[in-house]
């Protein structure tokens, strides 16, 4: 016990033995941990905002389809849509975590305004219900159609292509294939943008009743789900499998695999690379400081070994010193990170529009205890690895050489 206490005391005091060098080491570790911690918070904020945007703009927390519907193309897709949607939704509403449900029907239509004709891909939706949850559908002009039975909202690019504004009339033509073509005349209530240029250039939304009439069906293609939170999805999906086995519950990150999943993977890979660079800087800082300290104490080490002290215990003392440095440096870095996020970065970081996105946004720095613990662990690990080589070299030096060292 006393041995451990004296080793720890010696390590603590050694940290302040050469104050300038220790300050440099502490600054290196503090800057490294600060950078890592804030970057992790930034990354977490970015991911959470991107996820919220994805959920609140289009997909909800997930959607329900008839089992197998998404797996292949169907000659008569309407035969594979959800029958008696009201009864199904009544069963879904009592499942765990469910806040709201949004029946949807995909409509491929020709949009005609005067001599302008554009192909669009839209959805029939419950306007009043969706307005409560899909808050990321931002309107350039006008607003959603809510309960208006002849309303239509258009993506920004689609509206521009047709040259329409709020209040203008649009005729929708749905090619029926083996069924007769259907038309409907609707009035523009809003022009929206979701942030995704590609989506906004072809998307429109119309009341579900209009979509069902155009497609001559009383079914819905899918039901989007709003849950209490992302973490509620597994329990909800399990409950669907049990109570409604003919339906398939698909989470938002699978529905938006191309954008969301790939973006997350891409950001994770980028983060791992930057983390590696930061850790390398911390490693080199520690390596340099411990190398200098060990060099300076070579004769001390020789004396301890001459008096019968083992290589392991001498090495342990220096490793402890590196750990003390790492803990102190990390504490400074983490505290500074927290102060920054509560002060100058309280309102987040302003970001320009991302590729394929039309609007700028702010990323909140979301710091978290698990991130702090991970940063602290990485700092300690890096410090220990960084000191191993110089310490190992010193304790293996022939004692007589160590005693002669100047």
């Amino acid at each position: 016990m006393r041995r451990a206490a004296l080793l720890l005391t010696m390590s603590l005091r050694n940290v302040f033995r050469n104050r300038r060098r220790s300050l440099f080491a502490l600054a290196t570790i503090a800057m490294g941990t600060l950078g890592l911690f804030v970057f992790m918070g930034f990354n977490r904020g970015l991911m959470n905002q991107y996820r919220a945007n994805t959920i609140r703009a289009r997909w909800g927390h997930g959607q329900l389809y008839v089992e197998g519907y998404r797996d292949r193309a169907h000659a008569r897709p309407w035969e594979h849509w959800i029958d008696r949607p009201s009864a199904v939704m009544a069963q879904l509403r009592v499942l765990p975590g469910v806040l709201d449900l949004f029946p949807r029907l995909t409509v491929s239509a020709i949009l005609v305004v005067g001599e302008h004709t554009v192909a669009g891909q839209g959805e029939g939706i419950d306007g009043a219900a969706e307005a409560r949850f899909f808050t990321q559908l931002n309107y350039r002009e006008g607003g959603d159609f809510r309960d208006r039975p002849d309303g239509i909202v258009l993506g920004e690019g689609l509206g521009r292509g047709l040259g329409v504004h709020t209040g203008d009339e649009i005729r929708l033509v749905v090619q029926g294939g083996e069924r007769p073509s259907q038309t409907a005349t609707l009035r523009v209530t809003g022009i929206f943008h979701t942030g995704s240029q590609e989506f906004d250039s072809r998307a429109f939304r119309i009341p579900l009743g209009v979509a069902q009439r155009l497609l001559v069906t009383d079914r819905v293609e899918s039901i989007a789900v709003a849950l209490a939170g992302v973490e509620a999805w597994p329990a909800f999906a399990a409950a669907v499998r049990t109570t409604l086995p003919t339906l398939e519950a698909v989470p938002f990150d699978e529905l938006d695999r191309i954008y969301y999943r790939h973006a997350v993977d891409w950001l994770d890979a980028q983060f791992a690379f930057i983390r590696g660079i930061i850790l390398l800087v911390v490693f080199l800082g520690i390596f340099n400081v411990i190398s200098m300290a060990v060099l300076e104490r070579t004769r001390e080490i020789g004396t301890l070994r001459a008096n019968g002290d083992g290589q392991f215990r001498i090495a342990l003392g220096h490793i402890l010193e590196a750990v003390v440095l790492a803990v102190l440096g990390a504490a400074i870095g983490l505290t500074t990170g927290w102060m920054l996020s509560a002060g100058p970065l309280r309102d987040g970081v302003a970001m320009p529009p991302a590729p394929g996105i039309t609007r700028s946004f702010r990323i909140q720095i979301e710091l978290a205890i698990p991130d702090a613990l991970q940063v602290l662990s990485l700092a300690i690990l890096t410090a220990v690895v960084g000191c191993l080589l110089p310490v190992w070299r010193a304790v293996r030096m022939p004692i007589a050489d160590a005693l002669r060292h100047v």
Binding site: R2, T9, M10, R13, R305, L403
Partner: protein, 223 residues
């Protein structure tokens, strides 16, 4: 009682055709309780011989017996264990740990032994008292004079109660009066406790006080 038997010991520094002979065919016997000085000019091999007697390295040729046991063929781990049990050092440059107090510097070398904390404390304070600096126990070396620091180094060597202390130029860095006081202390410890002291030295005070003086020249014992 015979402590060391050194027979035909040679040691060379360097290699690859650049080797320099530091000791050649050295024979030496040291009895327990001796106050022995190894004298000679710089480069004569004094420190090398002291290092070999301290088992800091093994000879290239010949044998060194300590307490009748051949120590020249032992591996690093066995040499460390034997050194811990039997040999202590005092160096010219002291090499005290500056971040530890005098007490902690002395106590540190006892930590590898299975002693109770009370026994460790008794021995540490006893060693500091034996060299006359018990009242300085809480001070760090850099706040002490050169003589006081040398006494801490002596206490550190004494505290393990190992029976033989090897001292490399222990008074070389001290002024005349301090060097004399340290010399008197070492002689008293030799006389009162029967501790064997082996010095490498130029200091005429040590040479005058020594029971025996071994002269080295060019790596060989000349007298």
């Amino acid at each position: 009682m015979r402590l060391y038997e050194v027979r035909a010991v040679s040691y060379r520094y360097g290699g690859n055709g650049q080797a320099v002979s530091a000791l050649a065919d050295v024979d030496l016997d040291v009895d327990a309780g001796e106050f022995l000085a190894i004298a000679g000019p710089s480069g004569s091999g004094k420190t090398t011989l002291l290092n070999l007697l301290g088992l800091l390295h093994a000879p290239d040729a010949g044998t060194i017996r300590l307490d009748g046991r051949d120590a020249s063929t032992l591996g690093e781990r066995e040499r460390t264990r034997l050194r811990r049990e039997r040999i202590a050092f005092i160096f010219q440059s002291l090499n005290l740990i500056p971040v530890l107090s005098a007490y902690e510097n002395v106590e540190y070398v006892l930590l590898s032994r299975p002693l109770s904390s009370a026994e460790r404390r008794r021995r540490t304070l006893g060693a500091l008292a034996a060299v006359g600096i018990a009242d300085q126990a809480g001070r760090r070396p850099q706040r002490m004079s050169g003589g006081q620091q040398q006494r801490v180094a002596i206490a550190r060597a004494l505290v393990r109660d190992v029976g033989v202390i090897l001292a490399d130029e222990p008074t070389a860095a001290l002024d005349h009066a301090t060097g004399r006081a340290v010399m008197d202390l070492l002689k008293r410890l030799n006389r009162d406790r029967g501790i064997t002291f082996i010095f490498s030295t130029h200091d005429p005070r040590i040479l005058a006080a020594a029971d025996r003086v071994v002269h080295l020249a060019d790596g060989r014992i000349s007298s």
